[in-house]
Symmetry: C2
Subunit: 198 residues, 2 copies
Amino acid sequence: MSRQWQTYSVPNPSYFLVNPTDNNTNTTPALTLAEAKAQFIHTWGVSGASWGVSKTLAQVHALLLVSPGALSTEDLMEQLKISRGNASMTVRDLLDWGLIYKELRPGERREYFVAEKDMLQVTRCIIRARKRRELDQMKRSLDQLANLPGDPADAEYRAFHTALTDIQQLANVSEKLLNRLMQAEKSWFWDKFMKLFM
Amino acid sequence: MSRQWQTYSVPNPSYFLVNPTDNNTNTTPALTLAEAKAQFIHTWGVSGASWGVSKTLAQVHALLLVSPGALSTEDLMEQLKISRGNASMTVRDLLDWGLIYKELRPGERREYFVAEKDMLQVTRCIIRARKRRELDQMKRSLDQLANLPGDPADAEYRAFHTALTDIQQLANVSEKLLNRLMQAEKSWFWDKFMKLFM
DNA sequence: CACAAGTTTCAATAATTATTGAAACTTGTG
DNA sequence: CACAAGTTTCAATAATTATTGAAACTTGTG
């Protein structure tokens, strides 16, 4: 089993080939489930990195998302080939984001983790965390700059003031939109929202 | 002049103090315009870094946004204290994103750059570039994985398949929402959109 | 309270990403 | 076509960020 996971870090070009161990009949899948998982984890890691999260964080999340049961720190270390320290910190981050939960098993000291599987909920968690880190932080900085008094006849001042108020306006709209998305009920999301926008 | 810009790289705590060169009457601003600009450029750089763009890219963009006229590569280098190579590459990136324009002056070989000042347009450019880099890229990878055939009685397979189709569904909605936002006319944006969401 | 079975922390290090700066290139003009 | 005034490229380096792994810590149990 553990051999199959090595493709997490080094994606294997044979993904795109027919599984060499089957007889190549047209009913067999081109990918085994384990290969597909590995590829998904890789993809999710790359996507995560292009957002601001570390590759490992995204990969742990991906692995838990596609795992039917809960996994322990030990499992994560082994399957993703990461160190104990890394696993511990990553898991803590994911708990903070609200993307995974601890699962305690009676009589066991070891902790297990399950992913939040409801994608709408996942989206909310991500929006909440990123909004706090990026938008709210920025709004605070802008507020004290936008109403700097100055001479409206000065082109330098006008350019500055216009740019800042425009950005503030945009930030306000974004904030409201994000708040709406976060509150969204499943039904609201799929009904009103989807129908409106398509 | 050039001394004032040093706060771009090392934010100066005196931002929050009354300008020591004025007489501290209550009609004088707490910040000079140059200080406020420097602080804005710093803020925008930090925000940019928490998205996926380099600090320099965000700062060049910020500087051009608050500059009433066009600036040359030389101006950018001097005001942001960056190297010629860095300025050249950053400017090219910003041109690619569509966030700035070249301004050619008859009889001069030197190139000048102006920022797109319409924030709605800026938003569109950013959405377009990021969507292409992140969402479209991901969708492509997921498509080939989501319809992997398998045994629906296998919990491993079910978990994988459910997670992937859920993510695809979410990606589709996101794509449509982003497309809508990109098409949005100014009037549509402020009327329909803002009113609906507030 | 000693110990076993875990988890967390954090300094050192590895990996990645951004930046510099000099050399190569481009382009218009006498 | 030589030169001046710029721009671009890219290998070397600096700066930043992620990861390791060993030591410190925690917690439940005999």
